[in-house]
């Protein structure tokens, strides 16, 4: 029963995606919209093919991904460590949480000028902004996770006379991870956004900068090509996380 339905759905999705591309191409070719505004998929994919051949696509993708991953790794590290401290100690929470709550509502991109003053228009500034922007969901998820370790598990750690480190590693961290993971997920999505923003702002090589250059030189096909690649990266991130969730929480899926 399951198989034909799945197949049917898949065919429908594939056909509709093709139909969407055809429609897009048709609208672009009819000339209703100025060519500098709307480019058909044929032209966009031609650009992608050319960029694949001359290696510029791979270079841009690599630069963007590398920047994003660096910033996000920094954000996760700080977010999880700080979050663990905040979530495990009421004193640390009372000392720091109000200050963090005051900074948190600040739109992340507003930190860009500060980062420019601190670092200049360079890689460090970009990584700092990405980390700042993507840290908050990780931090909040971690605090929540550590605050909500079930009492039974805390007592289990006491009864088994676990030391602080062992209790942290075997009980508290894995228990909190269920709340940390969604934070990481949101954080990674934000990291991609902040990467594109800082690339545009600081003219750092990457997909965001490609979009900017394409617009300034009125090469719309390049612009659409770069947008498609960013979308694909976003989709890949999502798929990787879905896969990671299944791998990391095999015990949760069988429930």
């Amino acid at each position: 029963m399951m198989r034909p339905i799945l197949l049917h759905r898949f065919t429908l999705m594939l056909l509709s995606a093709l139909a969407f591309l055809a429609l897009w191409q048709a609208v672009a070719q009819m000339g209703l919209v100025k060519r500098s505004f709307l480019v058909g998929p044929v032209d966009a994919f031609a650009v992608l093919w050319r960029q694949t051949l001359n290696g510029s696509l791979a270079a841009s993708m690599l630069a963007t991904t590398h920047r994003m991953v660096t910033g996000f790794a920094l954000a996760s590290g700080i977010g999880i460590l700080l979050g663990a401290a905040l979530g495990s100690s009421a004193l640390v929470r009372r000392l720091l949480m109000p200050t963090l709550d005051a900074i948190r509502p600040l739109p992340a991109s507003a930190i860009i000028p500060v980062a420019i003053l601190m670092f200049g228009l360079n890689e460090a500034m970009s990584v700092f902004v990405i980390a700042f922007g993507s840290m908050w969901p990780v931090l909040l998820g971690t605090v929540h996770g550590f605050q909500n370790v079930p009492v039974g598990l805390r007592e289990l750690a006491r009864v088994l006379e676990m030391g602080r480190l062992r209790a942290f590693l075997t009980v508290h961290l894995p228990s909190a991870f269920r709340d940390i993971f969604p934070g990481l997920r949101t954080g990674l999505a934000l990291a991609l956004i902040m990467t594109v923003v800082t690339e545009m702002q600081a003219s750092l090589p990457g997909l965001g900068y490609d979009i900017f250059v394409a617009q300034r030189s009125y090469r719309s096909a390049d612009l659409y090509a770069a947008l498609i690649v960013i979308g694909v990266i976003g989709l890949c991130i999502n798929q990787i996380l879905v896969w990671a969730e299944r791998r990391l929480f095999p015990w949760a899926s069988s429930r």
């Binding site: 289990l156 991870f177 015990w251 949760a252 069988s254």
Partner: protein, 275 residues
């Protein structure tokens, strides 16, 4: 005990501290009282009793008699507001691996992200034995508790009875000298409950462990216990402590039909339920 090669020497404190007077737990005037003046709330006050080494000691009482609190004090998870508790002569101040506890709420006392095998392995003190010996011990305990087939499953994939078996296996892996059980079979269906009762008696007899077993079920207490202590509620106090003169091994049908069983049940029922 047919152990697989481990010797008791790794655990240096184990030998000298074993109680010479045959008393595993001595409770002296333990109380649990909150607040003062008009807001004073007394869970129980001035409770004293001894639990002998090697016996199965059941504590039975209705809700509000403080039996769970008492057990947590013996485990060292909570301190009595006054009075003291001695384990083999030494005051209980903190939880210890020597006093394993099976929690009532099995769903929250197992690590959901670890397999059954890994949960049982938690009980073995890290570094106390070699990796192979530890694995062999876990395998032995899994077989003994009927979990061999479920070893690689996660707790959420198991029934309540199986999860409670995992807790018991983990506690046995601690090589405890005292096993504390807080209504461990309370949430299980009657069939599972009876088979687990028999398995438990079999296990503690084989491993030679002292057991303190808490329940609100009079029959369960009599069936399992060498002695049964009945607690009254509001405030919690000892109503009686009965010796149960039933032969071991016990049997679900014949033991429950014995005259001694029925007499003790009457006695406890009148004291605790009151009519």
């Amino acid at each position: 005990m047919q152990m697989t090669g481990q010797t008791g020497q790794t655990d240096a404190t184990a030998v000298p501290r074993r109680a010479q007077d045959g008393v595993a737990i001595r409770v002296r005037g333990a109380s649990m009282v909150f607040g003062t003046g008009p807001q004073r709330h007394c869970v129980f006050e001035g409770i004293s009793f001894d639990v002998r080494s090697g016996e199965v000691f059941c504590i039975v009482g209705g809700s509000g008699c403080g039996k769970t609190t008492l057990l947590r004090q013996i485990a060292g998870l909570q301190r009595p507001t006054s009075g003291e508790i001695l384990f083999e002569g030494a005051p209980v101040t903190a939880p210890s691996r020597e006093r394993a506890i099976v929690f009532q709420d099995y769903g929250r006392a197992l690590l959901p992200w670890r397999t059954v095998r890994a949960n049982v392995r938690l009980g073995i003190s890290p570094g106390s034995v070699s990796r192979q010996d530890a694995e062999a011990e876990v395998t032995r305990l899994l077989a003994m508790t009927g979990l061999a087939a479920a070893a690689e499953k996660y707790p959420s994939e198991l029934s309540g009875g199986m999860q409670q078996r995992v807790q018991i296996a983990r506690c046995l892996a601690q090589r405890p000298r005292l096993l504390l059980m807080d209504e461990p079979f309370g949430a299980l269906d009657a069939m599972t409950r009876q088979s687990l009762q028999d398995e438990l008696l079999d296990l503690v007899a084989r491993e030679g462990i002292t057991v303190i077993f808490i329940t609100h079920d009079l029959e369960e207490a009599i069936y399992l216990g060498d002695r049964v202590m009945g607690l009254g509620a509001n405030p919690g106090r000892i109503l009686t402590t009965l010796d149960i003169a039933l032969a071991r091994p016990r049997h679900q049908l014949t033991t429950r039909e014995a005259a001694e069983f029925i007499a003790r049940r009457h006695q406890l029922h009148q004291l605790i339920v009151g009519h």
